[in-house]
Symmetry: C2
Subunit: 356 residues, 2 copies
Amino acid sequence: MDRKVNIYDIARLTGTTISAVSRAFDPKGKIDPDKRAMILEVAERYNYRPNRAAGRLSRKTIRIGCVMIANIPAYYNELIAGVKSACDKLADFKVECDVRLIEPGKGEEERCAAVFREFRKGGCDGVIMNIQYTPAALDAIGRLRKAGIPCATVTSDAPESGRLFSVQNDLATAGGMAAELLSVMTGRGRVLLFTGQKDSYVQTRILGGFRQEAAERGLEVLAEYDAKDNPTLAAEYADRAFRCFPDAEGVYISSANSAPVIEVIRKSGRAGRVAVVASDVFPELSEEIRAGTVGATIYQDPFGQAALAFEKMYDYITQNRLEETVYTVVPRIVIKSNLHLYTSNREQPGSHTEER
Amino acid sequence: MDRKVNIYDIARLTGTTISAVSRAFDPKGKIDPDKRAMILEVAERYNYRPNRAAGRLSRKTIRIGCVMIANIPAYYNELIAGVKSACDKLADFKVECDVRLIEPGKGEEERCAAVFREFRKGGCDGVIMNIQYTPAALDAIGRLRKAGIPCATVTSDAPESGRLFSVQNDLATAGGMAAELLSVMTGRGRVLLFTGQKDSYVQTRILGGFRQEAAERGLEVLAEYDAKDNPTLAAEYADRAFRCFPDAEGVYISSANSAPVIEVIRKSGRAGRVAVVASDVFPELSEEIRAGTVGATIYQDPFGQAALAFEKMYDYITQNRLEETVYTVVPRIVIKSNLHLYTSNREQPGSHTEER
DNA sequence: TTGTATGCGTTATCAC
DNA sequence: GTGATAACGCATACAA
């Protein structure tokens, strides 16, 4: 095969030098605009693309920091695995990641702030996070931004924080899917809604999608209960709900706080008689799906979200370019027959390997 | 940060040279076994990993050939997009792809053979294919193998051909999912089965999964019709099926040849009254899902399959290592509410980007 | 602003 | 089998 066209070829073809060509492709490269245009045009004609691997070779290692709140193990472990996987794939480009887990609870905000400070001082080139967006956190993000360090949010979001971009599940669609599933399972029945933090970024969007699809399908929402991610409260509400609406045919639990509600359903002898759609995939819930108590759950692909965020952060750092403000990942329906694909350890987002 | 340990460091630490270190990491490198062991041990201790990007720099471009049968546009376009996407991501490692479409029909076998011959003579480093595995094709694969050119199958498979590995949808699970969906939609009803080539690699596995799940759930299969991927035959069978079993409550169409069956359902006034689960996603089917005639379809992720195959082929060519013989991709449930995520053009397997 | 020289980490080549 | 050295393709410090 004819050798691939390289920077020397373009330099020769344009009667310039390789530094000029290099600068022409660097968005912040100091070069005469006309010369740049000319070089880019010739490069285009000869189908030249700078080899990023070669370019990275002589540059310093890129460090991307990650701050993750350690609430649900099944969730943040997937997030971390996603980051690690993406980082491994980029290792040859001299990229590293520095993952910090924040235990929720007392002092959470301060510990979080400390990590942000460390990243800001310590020469981090970008930060990916999934945290509580308290005023203090927003402040920290603002400071990073001022220091020229791009931030990205994963799973949830805080657009007003000044973060560069966000990676999320397609929340509205996820809500719609839950409504459609309940509609199919109950035959346009009457359902109950158990939410997490009703006003949170994630829940408002999920519920918006759910309500719209429910309205279109004639699915009647008997009542909504906002358990505020509190298990005790969720159990109380579930008790009350089934007392008030003993003939409810379906339930959608939009948060990961589903165990208490499901337990009430089981103990009241409603298992299998009321259609249940839940969120996420974690061991306790998997049991209920196998047992038939829960008919379906919506998987948010935290692994894929984190991997995509890492990849896009690397792209931004190296190219100073961003296509989107919000990247979304496809929500998936998990039922009994495909559950096993979501419970084993995985290597690749959305794919499994198995020996035959 | 402290500079990353490189080949010079290991050479110094082991009292050898960079040539020796390089050979120690090359499976077919000529080097004294003891010396290799020693070097690898030290490298391990110092956490040294050769930088593959740097390594590829001075090596020749890798060419991976793709031979795809051009039957269903929505399907092979996704396959090609997957290959192209994976190839782009590896472009910096000096990888190219050479995609050839084979129009089905007269002379198909010869044209296919011609491409294989060209790849064999033309210095291809690996071949990925989705074709009809006729004796002639198997022979061609054998010849490539003898020439030291690894082959991989995508979507379908022919293990006896001597192909190195295969990437497929998780077929048995896909069949099981179809059965579970029908069971939920009909309430353990009685269903009809319309298959493609019943004895083909893909269909046997899908049907195996379907029958097992159906048996476990008490879903009764009234009859099976093997339409042999022939639209006319499919329409005939559908007519006959509903005459023989007018009270059938559900239908599973395991091949992409679903249009004729669906048309019979629509024209006989059964739309919305009989539960329909189909396969794949393509424009005509999408219409039926939107209209409510088809309740769900199982997406095979051809994009992801092709991308994974390309990636694994690159890995094998550059490392002479293979983890699996069969890699599987996760089948996904597509219903009306998430259909839009599977019909627009996509950039990444399993993820969408959208502006907010 | 422009051009030159050097380094990045590895493999291929070739002489030993 | 072993070691020196020339690529590989690019970015950048530095001199101009």
